[in-house]
């Protein structure tokens, strides 16, 4: 099964179904009426395409099949979690019974075998669910591999372990079209880059979170990455990079907007907090504007969510203590209405353009 071809086939099949529904509506409304021969050619061609996709890629051919697919995805995810946990506890249950050499061989063997099983399943599993499940287990085995080598040989913990974990997560994510592993890989990169930036500022790598500004460089990097590397054949990957990039910008701003003690800046406490609150509003607004302009719905949604969070936390700071609660919530509700109206206007503008 070729993961990318499968997603493209699914998208084409969806388009065919939409086309047929809309054509039926237009014919019922008397807007258009395809001649019988032309209609027959189109339907035959589409049927042949659908049959080919179904035979090669096990795509969803109807709405009910799509719903079942969602159930299969959830089951596959839960199964992968359970199998990964099973591997973890299996190792620990019998760990003391093996010599160090046997332990090393078992750890490496588990990583190699699960990787091999994933790629073998990928070539045979047209649905992709079993290959994705195996990919998650392979990643868990590799993480366990490095963690347990560290434990067996009392190795000083290091952020360098995050790099091979990220590399395998990306490899499996791009090979099996697996967004969950892409997220795991991105999280490893976030942890590594922020740890490196933190070390430059004199922090121990595990304490990178004590200085939220450490996450800004990796946030910008992740947000810009889809602009440099095309993910046209990997649906949803671009969005994931951008959402994680924005989270690495917004969450630190939100924290620093209320806790200046975490900042590197050599400025007055109030100045830092107010500065980050303002930066949060400005970045939120920019994200909404850019998202609407480029039709990046995930950027718009993330921007809106954080803009509203910044706004409400500010309201809370200003008025929670001094205003009656009914007035406070009334203002919050009215503000929500205002935001809705602005978004509606933006949506209308987007539709016209």
């Amino acid at each position: 099964m070729h993961a990318v071809a499968r997603s493209e086939a699914q998208a084409r099949a969806d388009d065919i179904h939409v086309f047929r529904r809309e054509l039926a509506r237009l014919e019922a409304e008397g807007v258009v009426c395809l001649p019988g021969e032309l209609r027959g050619q189109v339907i035959t061609h589409q049927d042949r395409l659908l049959a080919g996709f179904a035979a090669s890629f096990d795509i969803d051919r109807s709405a009910s099949a799509r719903q079942l697919s969602l159930g299969m995805r959830v089951t596959s995810f839960l199964g992968a979690l359970a199998l990964a946990a099973s591997v973890f506890f299996l190792f620990y249950q019998f760990w003391g019974d093996f010599t160090e050499t046997a332990q090393v061989l078992i750890l490496q063997g588990a990583s190699l075998m699960t990787l091999g099983a994933t790629l073998w399943l990928r070539s045979r599993d047209t649905s992709g669910y079993f290959a994705k499940l195996a990919a998650l287990v392979a990643f868990a085995c590799f993480v366990l591999n490095i963690l347990m080598l560290g434990q067996i040989f009392n190795i000083t913990p290091s952020d360098k372990a995050l790099l091979p974990w990220a590399a395998l997560a990306f490899l499996l994510a791009y090979t099996c079209d697996l967004r969950l592993l892409l997220a795991a890989g991105i999280l490893c990169v976030i942890a590594y880059v922020s740890a490196r930036v933190g070390e430059m500022g004199g922090l121990y790598w595990l304490d990178a979170g004590q200085r939220p500004e450490n996450y800004f460089p990796v946030g910008a990097l992740l947000f810009l990455l889809p602009g440099w590397i095309s993910h046209r054949r990997y649906p949803g990957f671009d969005a994931l990079y951008r959402v994680f990039g924005l989270l690495c910008l917004f969450v630190p701003m939100l924290i620093l907007g209320h806790w200046s003690g975490g900042s590197y800046l050599n400025l007055d406490t109030d100045l830092i907090e107010h500065g980050y609150q303002t930066a949060g509003f400005v970045t939120g607004g920019l994200a909404i504007w850019l998202g609407v302009r480029r039709a990046w719905s995930e950027v718009v949604n993330t921007g809106v969510v954080f803009f509203v969070i910044f706004l409400f936390t500010k309201f809370f700071d200003w008025w929670w203590e001094s205003w009656p609660k009914w007035l406070f919530f009334l203002v919050v509700g009215l503000t929500a209405l205002l935001v809705l109206m602005v978004l509606k206007r933006l949506r209308a503008q987007g539709g016209q353009s």
Binding site: F89, Y92, Q93, F94, W95, G96, D97, F98, T99, E100, V104, L107, Q108, S111, L112, L115, G116, L119, F142, N145, I146, L149, G150, Q151, I152, F153, N154, I155, T156, P157, P164, A167, L168, L171, L172, T175, G201, G202, L203, Y204, D207, Q210, R211, S260, G261, S263, Y264, L265, N266, L267, D268, T269, I272
Partner: protein, 296 residues
Amino acid sequence: MKWWKSPLLLGLLLILVTNGVVLLGVAENRRGEPESRVVLSQRELGGRQSWRHRMGNHEDNSLSLPLIWRVPVADDQIDAYRWGWTRSGYPPAWLTEERLAALGVDVTALKSAAQTGKTRGRREAADRVVLVVLELAGPAWQHAVEQVRRTRQEASGKVDSKEKQDNIQNAEKLLRKVETEDSRLYAVDAGLDAGALRQRYPDRSHYLILPARLTMWVTHPEGQEARVKGHFEDLLVPEIHAPRAVQQALAALPAPARDDGDDGDEGRGLPPATPFHATLVVGSRLEPWIEGISPP
């Protein structure tokens, strides 16, 4: 498909190279003359957190022994021994502002931050990794025993009530604990350069040099000058993995008889630790391992 585009080959390469790099690091650490080799006992490896108790976990039959070490305290903080506070996490008496400055802490900036309320210098308060020198059964431990013994003598000089009698009993119990049960490993110094520290403490069979996390904080009582304090959070490798051979040697040791085990906050309700001697070796990368176990 070109070979470098094959996911299988890339994945295999990644797994093998990563494992290779890790194992080469282990080999490098254990190659040549060790940085130090000390003979510890159950007091320093596991303590009252008896390994027998730990091995009773049916979900995890691996075993790691915690390296237990203490810090010397000033004479007016002797109660810290009673409550088990002298383990890592308590400020050592010798870790003064001058010593913190020598460890690269910007003490002036920290004080300034506390006094002005600005964030300036707060990053200096973040944890940092330093090398701590652990002394085995040396002057620091003897000094601790002396401190507790003095308390016992002071208590015995004024017996005139039930409360005083209790104080004497507690002091005797504490003395017995510090003399015969507690870890004899004491943090006596810290630095940033392993070579310089080893020159200062050349006895490799009594002084361990290990990386630890140093935490700082500022106290600024009303109307007084701000003071910077620090303590060692823990070693970067706080527990030493026991390989199968070590586990088997430990299992072959005779179990001790139960006692009442009243030893303050530490190890309450646990069986007494089985006595043993363990050779702990620290390699060139300052990563330790247990070389062998023997009866005391």
